[in-house]
Structure formats: C-alpha cells, structure tokens
C-alpha cells in the first residue's frame, strides 16, 4: 500500500476529510511519490534512455471525433516495440493519445483516467470537456522538469462535448505543449515525430463534416503518410498483422475499432498505395 495506514487499519483523516474531488491533489497528500512530476532526476540529458512513442492523429467529424495512433515505439535508431498502444479512452466520452517518452506517457495517461473517473464518482457528475483538457494540461506541466531533460510527454486529447449545442461541433480536439496548454484545434491535429507529414496529408484532404467512417479512413491514410517519411512511425504491418489503433468518441460513447476492422482499412489503404504511392 502506497499510503501509510494507521496501525489500527482505520482510514486516515486525509481519506475522510471533505477535501477535494481531484485525485491528483489527494495523491499529492497521501502518496506524492506516485505523481510523475515529483521525482528528482539526476542532471543531464536522458532523451535516448527510454522508448519513445510516435505519431497520433485526431480528426473531428460530423458526430464526434476519431483518433488513431501508429504502433511503433523507438529508442534511438532501434524499434523498441512494434505493437505499443498509444490511444486510449480517457473516460466514457473522451480519448487521449500519447507521444514522447512511453513509460511516463503511460503513467500520465493512467493517472488522467483515474482523475476523471474519481471526480465523476465523488461528485456524481462528469467534468466538462474543457475541464478535462485543463486537468491534462496541469499534468503535462507537472512533468516540465523531466521534459527539459529530454523525457517529454505530449498528449493529444479529443472528446465528444456533451454540453455542445450544435452536435456537428461536439467533437473537439485539444493539443498541448511541454509547458501545458491546452490549445483547442479546429478540424484535425497530429502530434509526435511523424506529425508534420500526417498534418500535411490532413491539410489537403480534411473537409468539415466528414462521416466517422471517412474520418477513420483519412486517419489511417495520414498515418501511412507519416510512416512513409518518418522512420519512427510504423505503417500497417501486413506480415505481422499489426495495424493502427483507431478509436472514436461519439454521442454513444467511446469505441475502439476491432482488429478485424482496422485490418480491413489498413489493407485497403496499402492496396490503394500499390497503385498510387503518394495516396
């Protein structure tokens, strides 16, 4: 157990205090060592110490958002992992993708998931989408020290805004920088080493009001373009049957496309590129 319990087994006061509804502020009292930003690091650059997760794209659609991430993690010139999963549900209506130092990213993402769920359980209501983005920004900011030593984590956050008046604008995307953010993006965004190429592809092909299916296809195409020009981004791996992770967030909640669905899209994208390598 991380927190020191009373010898009697009784829950310490910090648990029963009225206190805060934020899990991270609670954690900072009972187990500050579990917060990613609270660890002292030795001086020096540590960028090539741990695997890096690469490209994530998000596209807003008529009924929500689509987020997709490639499956490669790199360590310097090596491929550290071929099937890492970088896109996850943050809660029932939002998605988070992680680029940068994989280990810290996964820790941050888990903490963020608990933060949202914790608030929802304590208060009996969900945070607004903007509040979720603000909480994530605070967590990224907390990692600034490590980021300056090369262990940066940059998330991409997207979700279905339950408070949106116009359902066509309910799908919203937020990006962040190492000092926090958040910055709301219009239409689409990408993060990670291949984001330059993915964004260029999306710039030419994105149209407002895309259907979810079209946006899924577009996201996989953009990842293909990123993999085409960036060695740290993995393309669809037909021989090992590894395809991008694609998730959607709509009024029905979040949904992860099954392996069969992403395989079908991935194969069709590769087949299209056989004829026209530029897409």
């Amino acid at each position: 157990m991380a927190a020191g319990f009373d010898p009697s087994g009784r829950l310490p006061d910090v648990f029963t205090n009225a206190g805060t509804s934020s899990f991270t502020s609670f954690l900072s009292k009972v187990a500050p060592e579990m917060l990613p930003g609270r660890r002292p690091l030795p001086p020096g650059l540590a960028a090539d110490l741990a695997p890096h997760a690469t490209t994530i794209v998000a596209i807003s659609t008529a009924g929500g958002v689509v987020m997709a991430g490639d499956r490669r993690a790199t360590m310097g010139n090596l491929i550290a992992q071929r099937d890492i999963e970088k896109v996850h549900p943050a809660d029932a209506y939002s998605l988070v993708g992680i680029a940068g130092t994989a280990g810290i990213g996964i820790e941050l993402m888990r903490l963020f998931q608990v933060e949202l769920e914790h608030y929802e359980k304590i208060e009996g209501a969900m945070l607004s989408l903007d509040a979720k983005a603000n909480r994530l920004a605070a967590m990224v900011r907390g990692n600034l020290g490590a980021a300056m030593q090369g262990l940066a984590v940059i998330p991409l956050f997207a979700g279905f805004d339950l408070a949106a008046k116009d359902p066509a604008r309910a799908g919203r995307i937020f990006s962040f920088d190492v000092t926090g953010g958040p910055y709301e993006e219009t239409g689409y965004d990408a993060i990670g080493s291949g984001s330059l190429f993915a964004k260029s592809a999306l710039k030419k092909r994105f149209r407002a009001g895309l259907s979810v299916d079209d946006a899924v296809r577009l996201a996989v195409e953009a990842l293909y373009d990123a993999a085409d020009d960036d060695t740290a981004t993995g393309g669809p791996d037909l021989s090992r049957r590894i395809f991008p992770v694609v998730m959607t967030a709509t009024a029905e909640g979040t949904y992860r496309l099954t392996d069969a669905e992403t395989a079908a899209i991935g194969e069709s994208v590769v087949a299209g590129r056989m004829e026209n390598p530029g897409g």
């Binding site: 157990m1 087994g9 829950l11 954690l27 579990m34 608990v114």
Partner: protein, 277 residues
C-alpha cells in the same frame, strides 16, 4: 464547575448503541440483493441527487442508510481508497473485502473513541461471476461486519423487510423480478395500520452492478426504464439487461444529468421499452 460522574464503559457503549440504532431506524430503508444478472440496490429516497446508492469501483457498489453527511464521508473515503489501490496495483486487485475492513475499522474507532457514533448502516457489495460469488458485507455503526447470504435490508424496520425478502428472493431471479421483490419488501412496512404500501418510481433509487459488463459495472436505473421494470414489463427487462456491447473498452456510466446515467439514458429512448404484461 462541572462534576464528573462515573459511568461504566458498558453503560456508555449501550447508550451509544441505542442512539445509533434509533437514528438509523428513523430513516427510510434500503435493500441489496443478488439476482441472475448482478447485484441490485433499491433504496427509498425522495431526493434524486442525494444518493444512498453509489459506485465505488468497477465491481463494487455502496448503499447506506442513516445520516447523509456521515455515510457520504465514508463513501468518499472508500472511493479514494479504491482509486488509490487500483492505481498502485491493478484494477482487479480492488476488493470489496478490503473496503469493508477499512470501513469497519473506521466505524469501530469512531464508535469507541468519539462522543457520538456514526448513525449509519452500510452495505458494500461486490459482484462476482455468478450469484454465488457475489459478496454483500453489512457494516453497522459499531464496526461489526457481516457477510450476508445474497440479500440484506437496512434501515427502519429492517427485520420485517428482511423477512419478506427471505421468503421471496431467489438468486436466479431476473432483474424485473428482483426489483419487484425489493419494492414489495420495502412497501411491506410503514403502511396505514400495518398494510402494504405502494412506492412510486420517483421515490425509489435503483442501481445495479451488471455482472455481464466489463470494466465499470455500476449503472443507475431511472425514469422510463425503472417504471417499465416496476410494471412487470418483459420488454423493459430485456432492454435493461441488454449490454452496450458496442463499447466493451469503455467505462460506461454517468452523467451529464446528475440523476440519470448514460447507461440508463440509452435504455429510456429505445423502442419496445413499453411494458407488455
């Protein structure tokens, strides 16, 4: 100057117990029971926002009667403990037993050390793979814990309610049958001259831990879905039991609207929700 009179420890404990018991007995009751599809919580509650039944973790729910501020305090502590353990270890390692123990220690310490005991009675319920694997822990004001056999009643006239439950409850019941048995049991006391009462849907707080669901299993049943269950609608039941299989990766629950969960909101809108019988 105040004079200190001697009171035996036995007398002090008896007085505190009596006070707590009286406080609990004044409130409206709640029942918790296992059924084929999970664990059902039904509480009589006039408020739709001050909950007596809540989610603690993936497979753990919480029901309480008595003083709201006191059990709310314990509920928050429980959510904090569960989330902390789930993050430190794994989601599967958060158990109802650990939570029941922590609540018991806390209630026991408050009962002996503080001048006023908590006037609460609590149920920590954990849904298992089958009704036999469900665990219902009853925690009382003095910190004692009981593992209840698939059903329990708390609050005012709990014994009479438990009697009705015992004669009608079976672990293989459907959700609709379980809700009707629970409401019948709650309505069996407090009527004019000992007669049974009818409790309207808007005075009930109903939630389930859905056995078939992956991840967060807690779901509130409100509005039309609840009315359909109370009326004995087979259609309503089929809807309520239907899982949102489309979103297996999602911790589905709650709640842009405080009183309605996302899980039940989608039940309300479906066609065929009308009672048939």
């Amino acid at each position: 100057m105040a004079m200190q009179f001697y009171a035996s420890p036995e007398q002090i404990m008896r007085d505190r117990s009596e006070m707590a018991r009286k406080g609990i007995a004044r409130g409206r009751s709640a029942v918790v029971l296992s059924y084929a599809g999970g664990v059902l919580f039904v509480a009589e509650n006039l408020s739709s926002t001050l909950h007596k039944v809540s989610e603690i973790y993936d497979r753990i729910g919480f029901a309480a009667v008595g003083r709201y501020n006191e059990f709310e305090n314990l509920r928050r502590a429980g959510v904090r403990m569960a989330d902390l353990n789930g993050l430190s270890y794994d989601r599967r390692d958060v158990t109802g037993l650990a939570l029941a123990n922590a609540f018991a220690q806390t209630l026991g310490a408050i009962f002996t050390e503080q001048s006023k005991p908590f006037e609460v009675e609590i149920c920590v319920a954990e849904v298992g793979a089958t009704p036999e694997d469900d665990a219902l822990y009853r925690l009382t004001y003095d910190g004692s814990v009981n593992d209840e056999p698939g059903r329990m009643a708390m609050g005012g006239q709990a014994d009479a309610i438990a009697g009705v439950l015992k004669s009608h409850h079976r672990p293989d019941m459907s959700l609709g049958e379980a809700v009707r048995v629970a409401v019948q049991a709650l309505g069996s006391v407090g009527g004019e001259g000992g007669a049974a009462r009818t409790i309207a849907a808007n005075q009930l707080e109903v939630a389930i831990l859905d056995r078939s669901r992956v991840g967060r299993t807690f779901r509130r049943i409100t509005g039309a879905a609840l009315t359909a269950l109370l009326d004995g609608g087979a259609a309503g039941e089929a809807e309520a039991e239907g899982d949102r299989a489309k979103t297996p990766t999602t911790p589905t629950e709650e709640a842009h609207k405080p009183a309605t969960s996302a899980g039940s909101a989608d039940l309300e809108d479906k066609p065929g929700d009308k009672p048939e019988a």
